[in-house]
């Protein structure tokens, strides 16, 4: 049991770490605000979730476990909300996402975005 | 009169002028009352000074101690011969000058007369403080009060020229007193541990002569009121003041406070013996001699009468400084006597200059030809004053010059003897022509004008001082006794 749990935990931690790195790379490399935000929110939710799950498997006492679960819940609540709010704010202030244009090249959407 | 102890009298000489200020300020609205207050105050002060003189002659020691600021630093006063001379001169001349001023200021229609009389009283009060101070610290305080209280008098006219003169006046006097005089006082206190005027000096045996010499230099330059060159510039600058101010303050009170301080310092801080040992005494003596001659030469070239008298004062002050630096008994005696003699002589001359100004509106020597026929009394007084300054009988000035000469002889200072001789000749050259010219007939074709003298109070004042010059020749005894007792 414990060995399995340990391996699983480490696997989760490593994957979480890799997701973090990929998220950061995405943050740097993606072309516009919204795609970058996507990369960031992956780090926020998935990577953090993975790492927390990995840590839970190693939790020595139930109280630590409970705390970790609470952290997870909060992260899952706040991360997406923050992402959502950011995207809205960006749209609100007139930033347009890049979309594939007719020539297949990314370009800013010319149509006004409908509604909020 | 029992309650009027000598101690109280001494303090009253300073307090009465201060009280008079309050009276003057309160009664400022009415000219007559205001001047009456001044006159009454000066009469009281004169009475007090004479009372003190009697006490002093009776040999009663009078000491007053106000308060002690720090150990060895106190505000206290003591009756002593040199101070007595100074106080007598100042007391007599204040009264005279008040009379003179009343005539002068009224006929000249000066403004701000209330401020004038108030500051005048303050200045006189501080002169008594200087005269009776029993230590250097007290003397310094009143010395500074004197400077500050005379500034408004110098700038009385309020013109740009007066401001400029006032600034020079204040700049040099305050500057030297803080930079050198105060420094010297501190140095003395540090070396000797006391500032009390003591017969024979305060410096402990074995004090380095280098330090003493340096301190002496600081004192001589620091007492800017003694107007030794090159710190004499304030005196001619202060001549922008109204004539009574020039007369009393810049011929008598202020400058005499300066040389008086130097005499005190030389006699009671250094002591004549220590003074003799110092390496800088001779150098300063030569400087004083040079001052005498140079100032006389400058005086010869001045056409403005008051300026000429001012340079003459510079020259005469250096006599007294030289008398102190000779460091002999006769030198000190002569110096102290010269304070009084020169005071009466010079104030006569200034009074006359002021009288000429208010009556004939003439300020320059070259304009004075023939005015003797218009103002015979004034110009006669001028002649007497001139003789006294030169040092010729039958005037008091001859006595003090005699003692200075004998002091120089005692000290084997042939240089100073030469200086005194030469300067007498120069005095003759720049002063005597004025009264003589005045009695020349006016230029051809000009009708001899009618007699037109100064206002009566002024005329009385200058006659009185001229008379005093003569009286002091005949009765020098009391003055001599006082002066001779200084070093005993």
């Amino acid at each position: 049991m414990s060995i399995v749990a340990t391996y699983l935990s480490w696997a989760l931690l490593v994957i979480g770490g890799l997701l973090c790195i990929s998220g950061s790379v995405g943050l740097l490399r993606f072309p516009d605000f919204f795609t970058r935000m996507h990369a960031a929110s992956v780090t926020d939710t998935l990577a953090t979730g993975m790492i927390l799950a990995g840590l839970m498997l190693q939790a020595p006492t139930w109280i630590v476990l409970a705390k970790l679960i609470m952290i997870l819940v909060f992260v899952l609540l706040t991360g997406p909300t923050a992402g959502h709010a950011l995207a809205k704010a960006a749209l609100h202030s007139g930033l347009k996402p890049l979309l594939p244009g007719k020539s297949g090249v990314l370009e800013a959407d010319t149509k006004p975005s409908g509604g909020v | 009169m029992n309650s009027l102890t000598p101690e109280l009298m001494l303090q009253l000489t300073m307090l009465v002028p201060v009280l008079a200020i309050a009276g003057i300020l309160l009664t400022g609205r009415s000219e007559n009352v205001r001047e009456a207050v001044s006159v009454i105050a000066s009469l009281i002060v004169l009475a007090l000074v004479i009372g003190l003189y009697n006490t002093f002659k009776a040999g009663i020691a009078v000491e007053v101690n106000w308060f002690e600021i720090m150990p060895g630093l106190s505000l206290s006063f003591r009756l002593e011969a040199m101070g007595m001379i100074f106080a007598l001169v100042a007391g007599v001349l204040w009264l005279v000058t008040i009379f003179y001023a009343i005539g002068y200021m009224r006929s000249h229609h000066e403004e701000n007369q209330t401020r004038f009389y108030a500051c005048f009283a303050l200045a006189i009060g501080s002169v008594f403080g200087v005269a009776f101070a029993s230590n250097l610290f007290t003397l310094f305080i009143f010395y500074e009060v004197l400077t500050l209280s005379t500034y408004p008098l110098v700038t009385h006219a309020g013109t740009a020229e007066a401001k400029k003169g006032g600034r020079t006046y204040l700049g040099i006097l305050l500057g030297t007193s803080i930079a050198f005089f105060l420094f010297a006082i501190l140095g003395t206190y540090f070396v000797a541990g006391t500032l009390e005027f003591t017969q024979g000096g305060v410096f402990p045996a074995g004090t380095s002569v280098a330090v003493g010499g340096a301190l002496l230099v600081l004192f001589v330059f620091g007492v800017g009121k003694a107007a030794i060159m090159p710190f004499h510039r304030w005196l001619p600058a202060a001549m922008v003041a109204p004539t009574p101010v020039s007369a009393l303050l810049h011929a008598v009170a202020v400058v005499k406070a300066g040389v008086f301080t130097l005499l005190k310092v030389g006699t009671f801080i250094f002591g004549l013996d220590f003074l003799n040992e110092l390496p800088t005494t001779d150098a300063l003596l030569y400087l004083a001699g040079a001052s005498v001659i140079i100032a006389s030469l400058i005086a010869m070239r001045q056409d403005n009468l008051k300026k000429r008298l001012a340079y003459s004062t510079v020259s005469q002050l250096s006599y007294i400084t030289a008398g102190m630096l000779l460091a002999t008994d006769a030198g000190i005696t002569g110096g102290a006597m010269h304070i009084a003699m020169h005071a009466f002589g010079k104030i006569t001359l200034f009074f006359c200059a002021g009288a000429i100004l208010v009556t004939l509106h003439k300020t320059d020597v070259s304009q004075l030809r023939g005015i003797g026929w218009q103002m015979p009394v004034t110009m006669a007084a001028f002649l007497i004053g001139t003789l006294s300054i030169i040092g010729l009988p039958p005037t008091g000035g001859s006595w003090s010059k005699w003692f200075l000469l004998s002091g120089a002889l005692d000290a084997d200072q042939m240089f100073i003897m030469g200086v005194l001789m030469l300067s007498s000749l120069l005095n003759i050259a720049y002063l005597l022509p004025i009264p003589i010219l005045a009695f020349f007939p006016p230029a051809d074709g000009v009708a001899r004008p009618a007699i037109k003298e100064a206002p009566l109070p002024s005329l009385l004042a200058l006659s009185f001082t001229a008379l005093m010059c003569l009286v002091l020749f005949v009765f020098p005894q009391p003055l001599y006794e006082l002066a001779a007792s200084i070093t005993q």
């Binding site: - | 720090m70 309020g158 305050l174 803080i178 420094f183 501190l186």
Partner: protein, 492 residues
């Protein structure tokens, strides 16, 4: 209650400040603050007499003995300063209500009094404490309150001045923090007395050297030693006049006190003057400060700025006293701290009255003002004479001892420099006197009345104190002498 005096000194204003907020009404706040300031004054006087009778007072806060807890330690060195702070504060508060009428918007008055009390408590706390870190905490209380008080000035430049002071002050405080940290790392203690015991063991280390350097630089920033004074002229010029009065009379003095405490008590005389070129540094900067600041002061038209530069110059004198490294020197410094507080208090209060009537203290608009405001200008005159060092005023006494100390060391040129510095102060004070007294009232002179009694009374109390302590010197000189003797006695 008598055993609690030293802590009451600080916590009375400290606790009164939030109560003022509860009072809300500015009149009430003023009345309460003034009452508190006078209570504090009473406490400080009692404390001083206690110290004079029975020696240093030590108080363990929280009942924890030093070095584990924080200790208040009041001795001859800081007890007089406590009296000065609370006295000036009480007098200035008395005048403050009238003075800020025209200078601060009505709805900020309550906050003004709270900030004042906090500033005062901070200064008292710095002075009373015996714990190095506690110094930092109370330094920040007083500093933050000071920034607020300065920023309340009417002119917009007050804001800029306050910001400059905030940056300079925080850098200074951080330097002090670094210094305390380095001391702590070498000794493991924060209590001053304990530090004094443990520092000699490690005094040859580079760390302690650096700690000392940082502490001194940080404190010099606060006390505006030339050339770290750049924040001061603006702050004093644009702060509300009554604030300037309070700060000029007390704030820099407290910083000087901290410096003396660290130099002589914590690090010890030996270390400060042998391992560190303190003497040379303070001497050079002190003299340079006296001359540069005095000359600059001569050219100012705004009188508050002129006196601000004069304060920088006076700090130079105070530093000179320390640099003499002798008992007389330190005594002159202590004496000058107290005396300078008295004279600057009187002078700035006079200016506060001028500002109250005229809106600004511009020399070019003050022709003949003495005839309009005779009592105010008379107070300025006497304060000015005291600043110059004219006999019979407090200024003379401290200059006297300063010069004596210079002569004792055989430093004749320094003594001459002190006197020349006085000469410069004659020039800038006399400029004012000449304009106010001897220039006729001109067109540009506003038609003003004499200042109200609320300003005149505190002003003249200070002026009379200037004269009284200039004549009856046994208290001030005696106290400074004892303090100086303690500082030197404890070291040998």
């Amino acid at each position: 209650m008598i055993v609690h005096l030293s802590v009451l000194q600080v916590i009375i204003p400290l606790i009164a400040a939030p109560i003022c907020l509860l009072l809300r009404k500015s009149e009430l706040a003023w009345a309460f603050a003034t009452l508190v300031a006078f209570m504090t004054l009473a406490v400080s006087v009692a404390l001083l007499s206690q110290v004079m009778q029975s020696g240093p007072v030590s108080y363990e806060l929280g009942g924890w003995e030093a070095p584990w807890g924080i200790e208040y330690r009041v001795d001859m060195l800081n007890a007089p300063l406590l009296v000065l702070i609370s006295a000036i504060s009480a007098l200035a508060l008395l005048a403050s209500r009238t003075s800020i009428e025209n200078e601060i918007p009505e709805n900020r008055h309550t906050f003004f009094y709270i900030a004042w009390l906090l500033c005062m408590a901070g200064l008292l706390g710095i002075t009373a404490t015996g714990d190095a870190f506690n110094v930092f905490v109370f330094l920040e209380i007083s500093s933050l309150a000071t920034y607020t008080l300065i920023a309340l000035g009417k002119d917009r430049r007050a804001l800029w001045a306050s910001f400059q002071y905030l940056v300079a002050g925080t850098i200074g405080a951080t330097f002090i923090l670094i210094g305390i940290g380095l001391m702590y790392v070498m000794t493991g203690t924060l209590n001053m007395a304990d530090l004094a015991q443990r520092l000699p063991d490690v005094e040859n280390t580079k760390t302690v050297f650096t700690a000392f350097a940082f502490l001194i630089v940080g404190v010099c920033m606060k006390l505006a030693l030339f050339p770290l004074h750049l924040w001061l002229p603006n702050a004093y010029t644009f702060a509300p006049s009554i604030v300037t009065t309070f700060l000029a009379a007390t704030a820099t003095k407290v910083a000087v006190y901290v410096m003396i405490r660290f130099i002589f008590d914590v690090f010890g005389f030996e270390f400060s003057f042998t391992h560190f070129p303190l003497q040379e540094v303070l001497l050079t900067l002190g003299i340079a400060g006296i001359f540069v600041a005095s000359v600059v002061a001569i050219y100012q038209d705004n009188l508050k700025r002129m006196l601000a530069y004069s304060s920088v110059a006076q700090v130079g004198y105070i530093m000179l006293g320390i640099s003499f490294a002798s008992q007389t020197g330190i005594m002159a410094t202590l004496l000058h701290m107290l005396n300078h507080g008295l004279m600057k208090g009187a002078l700035f209060l006079a200016l506060a009255a001028v500002v109250y009537r005229m809106g600004i203290a511009q020399l070019s608009q003050m022709h003949g003002i003495a005839s309009r405001m005779p009592l105010t200008m008379a107070a300025f005159l006497i304060g000015g004479l005291s600043l110059i060092g004219v006999p019979l005023t407090v200024g003379f006494i401290s200059k006297w001892y300063l010069v004596s100390a210079a002569l004792e060391n055989g430093w004749w040129p320094v003594a001459a420099a002190i006197l020349l510095g006085s000469l410069l102060s004659v020039v800038y004070i006399w400029r004012v006197i000449e304009v106010a007294y001897f220039k006729p009232v001109s067109e540009s002179t506003p038609d003003v009345k004499e200042a109200p009694a609320a300003l005149l009374i505190p002003m003249w109390i200070l002026v009379l104190a200037n004269l009284y302590f200039g004549i009856e010197t046994s208290l001030t000189v005696g106290v400074s002498q004892m303090a100086a003797a303690d500082l030197f006695g404890g070291l040998r």
